[in-house]
């Protein structure tokens, strides 16, 4: 098996023996496939020099996506187990002591909300937009369920859902402005302040409509009147500060 170095040096030797053209190594004479790459063997090397200083073969990560999927499935199973056990226990206890569709369903709905949050966290891992939007959606469903269970004359439709809808819209706007204004942190900050003011107006409007039958803004005007000038000031500073030596002197930190 051993081949003298002097023999390997000769070009004649390169044409003899069993070689792997991909790995460019000499194999045992009886080899049928290359033990390294499982590729076919050849009876000689076509080129004396390798085309590059590095091999072309890539060490791919073995099953990283499979590993992540496995971890997610495990997390999902744990969360499901954590919620399922108390849910079944509550149902069993209520049934044992004669209750009919009472408190255990409220516990069940709360556990469902917890499960939903956990599921959203696992499913939308590293996808902030669907993750954030799913939270008000889940809360809306939860409120509607509570409303049905407790017989609170439909407050979830007139208050809960509008609040959730406002939150979803505002979260979408936050995300859009964050994406669009990535390179302008000052303006982004100002827009966030403005959106927060708008959010508070929306919440106030929903609450007053629910309570009085017509929209009447109260506390949100105070919040907006505090935040909007702040936003305006930030925009002003963003444009003016970089050019004004006086502002820079006064506000340096």
């Amino acid at each position: 098996m051993s081949i003298p170095l002097a023999a390997i040096d000769s070009p004649l030797h390169k044409q003899a023996g069993t070689w792997c053209a991909a790995c460019r190594v000499q194999l045992a004479p009886d080899a049928r496939v290359c033990p390294l790459c499982k590729g076919p063997v050849s009876l000689g090397l076509s080129a004396t020099e390798a085309p590059s200083s590095f091999p072309s073969c890539v060490d791919k990560r073995p099953g990283l996506s499979a590993r992540i999927a496995k971890r997610r499935a495990l997390a999902f199973a744990i969360i499901s187990g954590i919620t399922l056990v108390p849910a079944v226990l509550c149902l069993a206890i209520e049934k044992r002591y004669g209750g009919v569709a009472g408190w255990s369903f409220i516990v069940l709905a709360s556990l469902g909300l917890f499960w939903g949050f956990a599921f959203a966290g696992i499913a939308f891992y590293r996808h902030p937009l669907p993750l954030v939007v799913s939270i008000p959606v889940l809360v809306g469903i939860y409120l509607r369920t509570l409303d049905e269970l407790l017989g609170f004359s439909g407050w979830s439709l007139s208050l809960g859902w509008p609040l959730c809808a406002v939150s979803i819209v505002m979260l979408l706007l936050y995300w859009v402005c964050s994406q669009l204004l990535k390179k302008h942190p000052g303006i982004r900050c100002a827009v966030w302040f403005a959106l927060t003011a708008l959010w508070s107006l929306g919440i106030d409007f929903c609450i007053s409509t629910f309570r009085g039958g017509h929209g009447q803004l109260s506390w949100s005007i105070v919040v907006a009147s505090a935040l909007l000038p702040l936003a305006f000031g930030i925009v002003l500073c963003t444009f003016v500060y970089v050019h004004s030596k006086t502002l820079q002197r006064v506000f340096h930190w």
Binding site: V25, S52, P55, D59
Partner: protein
């Protein structure tokens, strides 16, 4: 002499299993580029002959209740096909794992070692023995083996004793806390990609230049490297004046074997950490080289090294650490390393020195290369190895750009050194 079936990990190695990750693989690579294509069956034979001489390389790393340990194996690792992205995707712990792997392609014999097993000097000793045994099988019998271990002979017990415990002395002051250092900006490449750039240059002119500056080779390269890092730090400071620029601190491992007369195969190094602060303004090369010169010499004093060893040993032997279960220790070590590990250094520079082979085998080897382990914090690291009249400087980088290697190589070529640069960037770009 019966070989024990298991061994404690050494003092430095205890850290690594806790911080293993997709990018933090702890693997470094030594490769010998021969003049002829490798014969696989002969290399397998050589590996089987050499491994019993290094019994705790023929081992797997297993978790215990309190610590990890090296457990001996009776089988041999299979040789793998070499790849374009080295030091990635290993299985280093657990059953059926190997803390090192042998790879082969064309004229290259390469070994990738985990730092859990040994350091660069230990790995080089194994690699030299393997290549020598391979060439011997090819008919190049060495007349004088020099300091090379002989395959087939029994191992030396003192090669496997943890040297830190052996050379530490009593209670010593704790190591100083170091602040966060400057890190190269930029997003990391995807896990699994490791960019490598080799720069090859004739050794003699570099040594001559170093001598003319009154420096040693490592000091010269460290000064040039710090200058390149300073260039990038100042460029960043100019581009983003509102951002803080941290000091630039280089990690330079110091081989402790010659200092303490040890022949160990385990990790046995301390580190020196020359620092420059770009906040104080641009330093010229002369000032940086003076700074490196004094730092390296003062930090390689035996009393200082003993202090480092003792402090490291005290860290390991504290009672509360010993009785803490491994899974808690792993979490704690990971957290502490995140706060005060590589964060303290901007990059690292490791010089393995000149590789010596038996006279009759020297001509069969083109050159040696040494690829540093990847670090997701310092992002780019540099290592040096010399063979015959060639100095090979290898950058390992987790960044998709090559700003630092380019700046460094430009600084070298501006001093009149001829450079041949090879990289795997193109192949990695094609990789999906």
């Amino acid at each position: 002499m019966s070989t024990p079936t298991w061994l404690r990990l050494d003092n430095s190695a205890n850290l690594w299993p806790a911080i293993l990750g997709n990018r933090y693989t702890t693997l470094f690579r030594l490769e010998a580029r021969l003049k002829n294509q490798v014969c696989l069956p002969v290399l397998e034979k050589a590996l089987h002959a050499v491994l019993p001489r290094f019994p705790f390389f023929q081992a797997q790393i297993r978790a215990g209740f309190f610590w990890y340990s090296l457990q001996r194996r009776t089988d041999f690792p299979s040789i793998e096909a070499d790849v374009v992205n080295p030091c990635m995707n290993p299985k280093l712990t657990g059953p059926n794992s190997w803390p090192f792997r042998v790879r082969v392609w064309d004229k290259v014999i390469a070994c990738e070692f985990s730092h859990m097993l040994t350091d660069g000097t230990g790995a080089l000793c194994f690699m030299r023995t393997l290549v020598s045994a391979y060439l011997e099988e090819q008919g190049l019998i060495p007349e004088d083996r020099g300091d090379l271990p002989e395959p087939g002979h029994g191992y030396q017990a003192d090669e496997w004793i943890d040297p830190t415990a052996l050379h530490a002395v009593g209670k010593m002051p704790r190591n100083e806390k170091l602040d966060k250092a400057f890190h190269l900006p930029g997003r990391l490449s995807l896990p699994g990609k490791y960019q490598v750039i080799h720069g090859l240059t004739p050794l003699a002119p570099v040594l001559e230049y170093a001598r003319s500056e009154g420096l040693r080779l490592t000091e010269l390269i460290a000064a040039l490297y710090l200058e390149a890092l300073q260039e990038l730090a100042l460029k960043r400071k100019d581009a983003r004046p509102q951002h803080r620029v941290d000091p630039i601190r280089l990690l330079i491992p110091v081989n402790l074997r010659p200092v303490f007369g040890s022949r160990t195969m385990r990790n046995f190094f301390a580190f020196s950490d020359p620092l420059i602060d770009p906040r104080l303004g641009r330093l010229d090369f002369q000032s940086i080289s003076r700074l490196v010169y004094h730092t390296l010499r003062s930090q390689t004093e035996i009393s200082h090294l003993r202090k480092l060893l003792s402090a490291n040993l005290a860290d390991e032997t504290a009672m509360w650490k010993r009785i803490t279960p491994l899974f808690i220790k792993n979490i704690a070590i990971g957290a502490v390393f995140g706060l005060s590990g590589d964060r303290r250094f901007s990059s690292s520079l490791s010089n393995l020195g000149v590789v010596h082979m038996p006279k009759s085998q020297e001509s069969a080897i083109e050159n040696w290369r040494f690829i540093p382990p990847p670090s997701s914090v310092t992002k780019t690291t540099l290592s040096l190895i010399s063979y015959h009249d060639t100095l090979c400087m290898s950058f390992g980088s987790l960044l998709p750009d090559a700003n630092l290697p380019c700046t460094f190589f430009r600084a070298l070529s501006s001093r009149g050194f001829n450079l041949k640069v090879e990289s795997n960037y193109q192949q990695l770009e094609d990789m999906q």
